[in-house]
C-alpha cells in the first residue's frame, strides 16, 4: 500500500496534540490557581480556635459565690477565691487561662438563675460595675478576697470570644444527619419499589423521566419551594428542619437513581436462587438484594453528603444564615447557617474574604475526604476477594 500525504498527516497530528495539551494545561492551571488562592488566603486563618470557637462573641452577666480561703496571695496569677488562673489579654481585659476542678466559676449562675459554666478563654470584662480594662491582677485579687471574706456574691460580666466556625460545623452536621434520615430511607425504598416491584410500562417510564427531570432542576428552585412550603406555609420559620426537608427533596433523585443502578447491577441469579429456595420476595429483597447493593447505596449517601456540604442556594431561604448551634428543629432558635451558607453570607454581606477563604478551605478538605471515602468504598466492594 502506498502511503500518501504522510507529511501533512504528521503535521495535523502534531497540531492536534498541541491543542490537547493546551486545553488540559489551561484547565489544570485554572484549578491550581483557584485552589491556591483559596488556600493562600484561607490557611492562615485556620487554627484550633477557628475550628472550635463560637462565631459571635457572647456576653453574659453571672453571679459568682466566692470561696473564702486562707490563700489570699496572688501567686502565679492564681486567684484562689475564684479557683482560676487569669491573665491580662491584649485588649487589657482579664482572661481565664485555667480553671481548677472546684472552681466557683463552674457553678456560677446567670441573672435568670440558670447555671452558666465559665470556660477557659472566657474574658471577665466587668466586676460589678467596674470595667476590668487595665486593672491590675493584684487589685482584682484583693477585690475578690474582700468580697469572699464578706460572703458576698459578685456580679461579673463575662464575654466568650467568637471568631470560630463551630456553630456552622455543628449545623452542617445536623443538616446532614436530618436530611439523610429523611431522604435515605425514602429514596432507597423508592428505588427498591421502582426496580423490584413496579410493573414495566408507561407509568414507570413517566416516573423515571420525572426523577431525571428533578435531578436537573437548579437548587435555588428547591430553595424557593422550601421557603414557600416549609418556612411559610407550615410555619417552620428559618430552621434546620425546613432546610433538611428541602435538601431531602433535592437529594431524592440522586439517591433513587444511584440506588436503582446499584440494584440493577445485582445479578438476576441471586434473586432467582433466593426465590428458588422458597424465600418470599420481601426476604429476598432485604436479605439478598439490599445487602448486595450496600456499596452502591453508601456511595449514594456519600455523594449526598457532598451535595449537602456544598449546597447554599437551597438553604439560605430555608435554614437561614444565623451562626448559632440550633437548639430545636423549628422556630427561631432553629435557624442555622451551614459552612457554605455562611461563606456565601460573609462574601455578600460582610465582604470578609479572609474568613470566607478559611471556611472554603475547610469545605474543600471535607469534600476531598468524602470523595476519597466513596472511591475507597467502591474499590473495596467491587474487587472480588
Amino acid at each position: 500500500m502506498k502511503i500518501e500525504n504522510n507529511q501533512s498527516r504528521i503535521i495535523k497530528d502534531t497540531i492536534g496534540k498541541i491543542l490537547l495539551y493546551l486545553a488540559s494545561a489551561l484547565s489544570v492551571m485554572t484549578l491550581v490557581v483557584i485552589i491556591g488562592f483559596v488556600f493562600v488566603k484561607g490557611l492562615p486563618g485556620i487554627n484550633i480556635d477557628f475550628l472550635t470557637r463560637q462565631w459571635q462573641a457572647k456576653t453574659t452577666f453571672i453571679n459568682v459565690e466566692l470561696k473564702n480561703t486562707e490563700d489570699t496571695n496572688l501567686s502565679d496569677s492564681y486567684i484562689a477565691s475564684l479557683g482560676a488562673h487569669v491573665e491580662q489579654n491584649e485588649d487589657g481585659y482579664i482572661a481565664v487561662t485555667k480553671l481548677e476542678k472546684d472552681s466557683v466559676l463552674k457553678d456560677s449562675k446567670n441573672l435568670k438563675g440558670a447555671a452558666y459554666e465559665v470556660k477557659v478563654d472566657d474574658v471577665i470584662t466587668k466586676v460589678l460595675a467596674t470595667d476590668t480594662k487595665n486593672i491590675t491582677l493584684e487589685e482584682l485579687n484583693k477585690q475578690f478576697n474582700d468580697a469572699a471574706m464578706n460572703g458576698e456574691t459578685l456580679k461579673l460580666k463575662v464575654t466568650r470570644p467568637g471568631g470560630g466556625i463551630k456553630p456552622m460545623v455543628v449545623s452542617t452536621l445536623y443538616i446532614i444527619l436530618l436530611s439523610l434520615a429523611i431522604a435515605a430511607p425514602i429514596g432507597i425504598l423508592s428505588a427498591l419499589f421502582l426496580t423490584e416491584y413496579a410493573k414495566r410500562g408507561k407509568i414507570l417510564v413517566v416516573i423515571q423521566f420525572a426523577i431525571q427531570m428533578l435531578a436537573g432542576i437548579p437548587s435555588i428552585i428547591y430553595g424557593l419551594f422550601g421557603m414557600l412550603v416549609f418556612v411559610q406555609m407550615l410555619k417552620m420559620q428559618y430552621s434546620i428542619l425546613a432546610g433538611a426537608l428541602t435538601l431531602s427533596i433535592l437529594l431524592l433523585p440522586t439517591i433513587i437513581s444511584t440506588t436503582s443502578e446499584a440494584l440493577k447491577a445485582i445479578p438476576k441469579g441471586y434473586r432467582e436462587s433466593s426465590l428458588g429456595l422458597g424465600a418470599t420476595k420481601l426476604q429476598t429483597n432485604f436479605k439478598i438484594v439490599l445487602p448486595n447493593a450496600l456499596p452502591g447505596i453508601l456511595v449514594a449517601i456519600i455523594l449526598s453528603i457532598g451535595r449537602i456540604v456544598g449546597e447554599s442556594a437551597a438553604l439560605i431561604w430555608t435554614a437561614g444564615t444565623i451562626a448559632q448551634i440550633p437548639s430545636s428543629l423549628t422556630g427561631n432558635t432553629a435557624s442555622a447557617a451551614t459552612l457554605t451558607t455562611k461563606l456565601y453570607q460573609l462574601l455578600k454581606e460582610e465582604g470578609d474574604v479572609a474568613s470566607a477563604c478559611s471556611i472554603a478551605v475547610v469545605i474543600i478538605v471535607l469534600i476531598w475526604v468524602l470523595n476519597l471515602l466513596s472511591k475507597w468504598i467502591t474499590r473495596r466492594f467491587t474487587v472480588k476477594n
Binding site: 410493573k199 441469579g269 441471586y270 436462587s273 426465590l275 428458588g276 429456595l277 422458597g278 472480588k384
Partner: protein
C-alpha cells in the same frame, strides 16, 4: 407403576404475552429418576423446567393453561408457591452462590424458613455439603466467601444450598454448561448419587451428558415435546425423524 409418577403434566400451554412458548405438553415424570430435557435453544425446555417450580410466575405477562400435578396435587392451585419451591429446588446454569460465606450460603435456605438454632444449622450445613460431595473440600473454609472457590465447587455449593432446604425434586438448568469437563463429570456423578433420594430433572445442551446420566429423555422443539422415552431408546433409535436429525446433528 402409577405410584412412581412424581409429576403428571397435562395439556400444558404457556404464553409470553401473545407468544406461545409451550404447546400441549403431556408428560409423566418418574420418581427417583433422572429425566433429561434436550432440544435447541428457544425450544421451551428451560421454560417448561421453570413451570415445575413456578419460576415463570416472576415474569410479567406469562399465562399458563393446563395442569401439573405433583404427587397428585395441582401445583398451580392447591399448593402455596413458597412451599412448592422449598419442595422443588433449582440449580441454575451459572454457579451463583451469594456473596457471603460458604456456611451462610448453605444456611440461607433453612434460615429463611425459620431455623435459628446454631447446632441445627451446623448439622444441616454439614449434611448438605456432604451430600453435594464437597464437604471434604470446603470443611476447613466454611467462613470463606463462596465466590472465592472454583466454578465447579461453587456449583456444588449451590447444589448443597438447594439440598439444605430438604427438597424432593431438584431441577437443574444446564448445570454444567459453565464448567470444565472434570467438574462436569463430578456434577454428573453427584446427580447419579442423588437420584436415590430425589427426583432430578435436568435441562442440558450436552447430548452425551443426557445419554450418560438420564433414565428418560424428552426432546423439545418449538415448544412441543417431539419425543419422550427411555434414554437408551432416544439415543440409539429415536422414533421421530426430528429427534434423529437433532441428536445426529443434521439439524437446521
Amino acid at each position: 407403576m402409577e405410584n412412581n409418577v412424581k409429576f403428571q403434566v397435562r395439556d400444558l400451554d404457556l404464553y409470553y404475552g401473545d407468544f406461545q412458548a409451550l404447546k400441549k405438553i403431556n408428560m409423566d415424570i418418574m420418581k427417583n429418576q433422572i429425566t433429561a430435557f434436550i432440544g435447541p435453544s428457544g425450544c421451551g425446555k428451560s421454560t417448561f423446567l421453570k413451570t415445575i417450580n413456578r419460576m415463570n410466575d416472576l415474569i410479567e405477562g406469562v399465562r399458563i393453561d393446563g395442569t401439573i400435578h405433583m404427587d397428585g396435587v395441582n401445583i398451580y392451585k392447591d399448593i402455596d408457591v413458597i412451599n412448592l419451591r422449598s419442595r422443588v429446588g433449582m440449580v441454575f446454569q451459572q454457579p451463583n452462590p451469594f456473596p457471603m460465606s460458604i456456611y451462610d450460603n448453605v444456611a440461607y435456605g433453612p434460615r429463611i424458613h425459620g431455623i435459628k438454632k446454631k447446632s441445627q444449622l451446623d448439622e444441616i450445613v454439614e449434611k448438605s455439603l456432604r451430600q453435594a460431595a464437597i464437604w471434604e473440600e470446603v470443611k476447613d473454609k466454611l467462613k470463606k466467601n463462596a465466590q472465592a472457590v472454583s466454578g465447579g465447587q461453587q456449583q456444588r455449593i449451590c447444589i448443597a444450598r438447594t439440598l439444605a432446604v430438604g427438597p424432593e425434586v431438584i431441577l437443574m438448568d444446564e448445570p454444567t454448561s459453565a464448567l470444565d469437563p472434570i467438574s462436569t463429570l463430578k456434577i454428573e456423578d453427584l446427580a447419579e448419587e442423588l437420584k436415590d433420594k430425589y427426583t432430578i430433572i435436568i435441562v442440558t445442551h450436552n447430548m452425551q451428558q443426557a445419554s450418560r446420566i438420564s433414565d428418560k429423555t424428552a426432546f423439545f422443539l418449538h415448544g412441543e415435546v417431539v419425543e419422550y422415552g427411555e434414554t437408551s431408546q432416544i439415543f440409539n433409535n429415536p422414533k421421530e425423524q426430528k429427534t434423529e436429525d437433532y441428536i445426529t446433528g443434521r439439524f437446521g
